[in-house]
Amino acid sequence: MNAMAPPLLGQSLLLLAALTLFLSFALLGQTRLTAAIHQFAWQGAMVAAVTALVAAGEGARHLYLSALLTLGLKSLLIPWMLHRLARRLEMEREVERLHHPAVLLLAGTVLVVFAYWVALPIERIGGHASRNILAISLAVVLIGLWMMVGRRQVVAQVLGFMSLENGLFLAAVAAARGMPLVVELGVAFDVLVAAILFGIFFFHISESIESLDVDRLNRLSEEETE
């Protein structure tokens, strides 16, 4: 978005983006499953809101559609599925023990700084606002990945993956006013399928190893094959 955009818009965009980032931090630290799912839903909503705002600011019609897609998928459908799964695997009450929560969060902040540092050279796209948002989205992506590294519980990993995707959507909207429609649809389709597959896998995993702790998934190790 260019400088002509009313400052209010830019500020609100930044605010929303910051909230998204905060939410992924919350996700990173959140050990209670249901709460985590809620936070994830909220993050989706944030992204959708950003999309809608940009659509309003730019008057880019197709963005409304993608905003709707995001809202529907990320903050309604997928959280609902996760809830159902959690109930059927009776694990709503489940609380994952983090080994070093402080380290986890600290590393997250480091990643944020790193993301800013990486995004600095990006000049030509839009104004500062969009660059900052790009930096934030990059941070969200990295934190999502970090969450998958740091959390052992399968659902938590999936949440990390999903919030990583949120970061992608945010970047797409902020940096490029959304992708072409065909791509948007394709991406949305893939995300949906992925979510379904995740659901399937929860069952497979929980019946193959009587838990959802991914660290138990280490039969295919090559250590000491000598």
């Binding site: 796209i125 998958m148 490029a176 072409p180 791509v183 190893i209 998934l217 280490n218 039969r219 295919l220």
Partner: protein
């Protein structure tokens, strides 16, 4: 053009039809038939391309580079389909699979072919991404087809790692799109490969650098470059043999194809800058590391399918190295190597499946004396083992030039 649509339609329709067909033998034949149709169409495409030089629409574009990959893909798809019919029937009789899963298998096989062809023939980076992600999704369930704990674990890792990788690739794509905004304008043009290629020089180098890193890590995960390769041996060794064959023979190629296409753009963007060779050097580095690590893992493998999946990593590393090096000789060698490797490797996996089927184990030391019992198979494998030394000279001669 119609040839192209036909080629894409064949597997797409096939996927839907096979999803509905309950009878197993019929499904096997249909599977073969659709693959054959795809091959025929691909040949037709090749013929048209050789006449007109290029075949293009808004979303699709076939030129001299990818037409040969199209033909190769459909060909391997057909051969593997032919092999998989009796093989899977055998497996089914052993009771390792239910009918429902056989339906899933055939449908997904076609779906996978469809995504491969789409990824190869599309002109839009966005659709390329969607297709490659689709390829992952369609094969995940094939890897875990046997539902053994190992296969499920392998599939999960495959899914997670490739999912993340692909997601990173999307980020890179977004960045490219963003960089293209000012140049090619909004909409599909911003992701059209050849438009970007034409205006590559005007793209922002800073953005393109970051973008390429994400794309390399992303698609590199699917190529099986070290250290993003961890999913590969598991997925190859646990899935049904035909799946291993197509994964190793096709999926890796397509991912590498994507990397190459993007490298061409990035090179254009960075040309003349201080980091003009960045893309090439990164690829060479990854190729070299992959080659070494794979070689070291090779010599300690006891599971024969793992062994060959590591050799896939090795060859991919070699090709990545050569392609990163650029230059006509290296590129030619790499493509030649790609061709030979796909054919040989799918043949080998087919053969190995056969062998481990006979021996009832995948442990090498238990598979013995096959040259007595199965000379033809061994001959095939010897032929399959050939490429690595035969093309090493051609692939790495220009290393210093």
């Amino acid at each position: 053009m119609s040839a192209l649509w036909l080629m894409l339609a064949a597997p797409a329709v096939g996927a839907l039809v096979l999803a509905a067909v309950p009878s197993l033998p019929l499904a096997g034949w249909l599977n073969t038939a659709f693959s054959a149709a795809a091959l025929a169409a691909a040949l037709w495409v090749g013929e048209t391309v050789s006449r007109h030089g290029e075949l293009a629409s808004t979303y699709l574009r076939v030129d001299a580079f990818n037409v040969y990959l199209l033909v190769l893909t459909t060909f391997v798809g057909l051969t593997t389909a032919i092999f998989s019919r009796p093989y899977m029937r055998e497996v089914c009789h052993q009771g390792r699979l239910t009918r429902r899963r056989m339906r899933l298998y055939h449908a997904m096989y076609q779906a996978f072919l469809f995504t491969m062809l789409l990824a190869l023939s599309t002109d839009s980076l966005g659709i390329l991404w969607v297709a490659v992600e689709g390829a992952t999704l369609s094969t995940v369930l094939l890897v875990s087809l046997y539902r053994t704990p190992e296969s499920i674990e392998a599939a999960w890792k495959y899914f997670i790692l490739c999912g993340v990788g692909i997601a990173l690739a999307l980020f890179g794509t977004v960045l490219i799109y963003a960089a293209a905004q000012g140049v090619t304008g909004e909409g599909d043009a911003g992701l059209s490969w050849h438009r970007l290629y034409q205006n590559a020089a005007r793209l922002d180098p800073g953005v393109m650098r970051i973008a390429f890193v994400f794309l390399l890590v992303g698609y590199g995960t699917k190529v099986g470059l070290v250290p993003m390769h961890f999913w590969l041996p598991d997925a190859h060794s646990e899935g049904p043999t035909p799946v291993s064959a197509v994964l190793s023979g096709l999926l890796l190629n397509v991912a590498l194809y994507a990397v190459v296409r993007l490298k061409m753009i990035v090179d254009g963007a960075l040309a003349g800058g201080p980091t003009a060779q960045l893309a090439g050097h990164l690829m060479m580095g990854f190729g070299l590391i992959s080659f070494l690590v794979a070689v070291f893992s090779l010599r300690r493998q006891k599971d024969i399918k793992r062994l060959f999946s590591y050799s896939s990593i090795e060859h991919m590393g070699l090709m990545t190295f050569a392609l990163g090096m650029g230059g006509p000789l290296a590129t030619f060698a790499a493509l030649l190597h790609m061709l030979v490797h796909s054919l040989a490797k799918s043949a080998i996996f087919v053969g190995v499946g056969h062998a481990s089927h006979i021996a009832g184990t995948q442990r090498i030391e238990r598979i013995r004396g096959l040259i007595r019992t199965q000379p033809r198979w061994v001959g095939g494998c010897c032929w399959g083992w050939r490429p690595s030394p035969a093309f090493r000279p051609s692939a790495s001669s220009p290393a210093s030039s």
